[in-house]
């Protein structure tokens, strides 16, 4: 699967965030662009992944879509539904642009 969105473990209760990881061939990708958009494709925020491939958005509860852009890679997106006091984990597995998902 090229992207997935799962509920974070219980120790995240009380925080409202979307956090995630971008990887390519099982290795973390630094500097990938991750965009957060709202329910009407409205752009909210953009971030870049750290050295360990991770990113995090702190957001108010609601429906969000996270989009991942990286050089040479197919554009990926993942929808998330965030409840108050919860957090979700998003994982992106990059693959070359123009190819089908592995």
């Amino acid at each position: 699967m090229s992207s997935s969105c799962v509920d974070a473990p219980d120790d995240y209760v009380g925080e409202t965030s979307i956090r995630g990881l971008v990887e390519r061939d099982g290795k973390p990708v630094e500097g990938a662009y991750v965009r957060l958009t709202g329910s009407q494709e409205e752009f909210v925020a953009e971030s870049r992944t750290s050295e360990d491939g991770s990113f995090r958005f702190w957001v108010v509860p609601g429906e969000w879509t996270v989009i991942c852009l990286a050089p040479g890679a197919e554009r990926l997106e993942q929808a998330c539904n965030l409840d108050k006091g919860k957090a979700v984990d998003v994982r992106f597995e990059l693959f070359p642009a123009g190819t089908a998902a592995g």
Partner: protein, 287 residues
Amino acid sequence: MAEYANPDALVSTDWVAEHLNDGTFKLIEVDEDTDAYEKSHIAGANSLHWRNELQDPVVRNFADKSQFEKLLSKKGVANDELVVLYGGNNNWFSAYAYWYFKVYGHDNVKLMNGGRKKWELEGRELTGEKPSVSATNYQAKEADPSIRALRDEVIAGVGKTPMVDVRSPDEFSGKLAAPAHLPQEQAQRKGHIPGAKNVPWSKSANEDGTFRSLEELKALYQEEQGLVPQDETIAYCRIGERSSHTWFVLKELLGFPNVKNYDGSWTEYGSLVGVPIALDYKEEAGS
């Protein structure tokens, strides 16, 4: 594809790559957080820190003429020299710097379309090496007030002057005080300036950070919102840098001859005593 009103306000990443070693322009990266620049940047680019270098350290205002002259002298920019600006955040802060350069009469300035993101997504080279700089004796012109809206003009224009609120729909309606991903303490009140149209700044840009086509921008601002190029128009947001991005779109791409950036924006207006505010969002009972 039809050309923008001022197509020379933009250069492409291709153009920058081709002319990097010409010595015919100064390349400057403008960021809110210069960590990215410190790590790597386009070869030859100098940096400008939006908060520490473009803002007055004490008074809420952008740096004055003499501060601007010292800054550009330090950055090695010569009078009338071509300056190409780019940056992160989809060119938010570089658009602000572009507007600011125009205020002080440095007309020979362009934005690199797509900013840092487009350069990176194209897999182009970056370097950690800083350029060597020879200081100059830069002379600015007096600030041009025709592209900047201040508080009193905005208050007088409520309901009369077309205004564009470029914040998110939730900030515009008054549901949120700040973008959804930022701390929510900001102006004293939520809502928007009565009569303002809401066109979130991001609608003018593609995902790769480049500006949308002329046709798409016309549809967005003129057809959908009824904005008329001949009208005096004011753009605002929360603190004035998203609205600089839209100011650039209206002025340079759509050719609105008389458009101003209200850089005080909602953090100023939404805290003023007694001004009219439009609040669309109603809290549900018990929420």
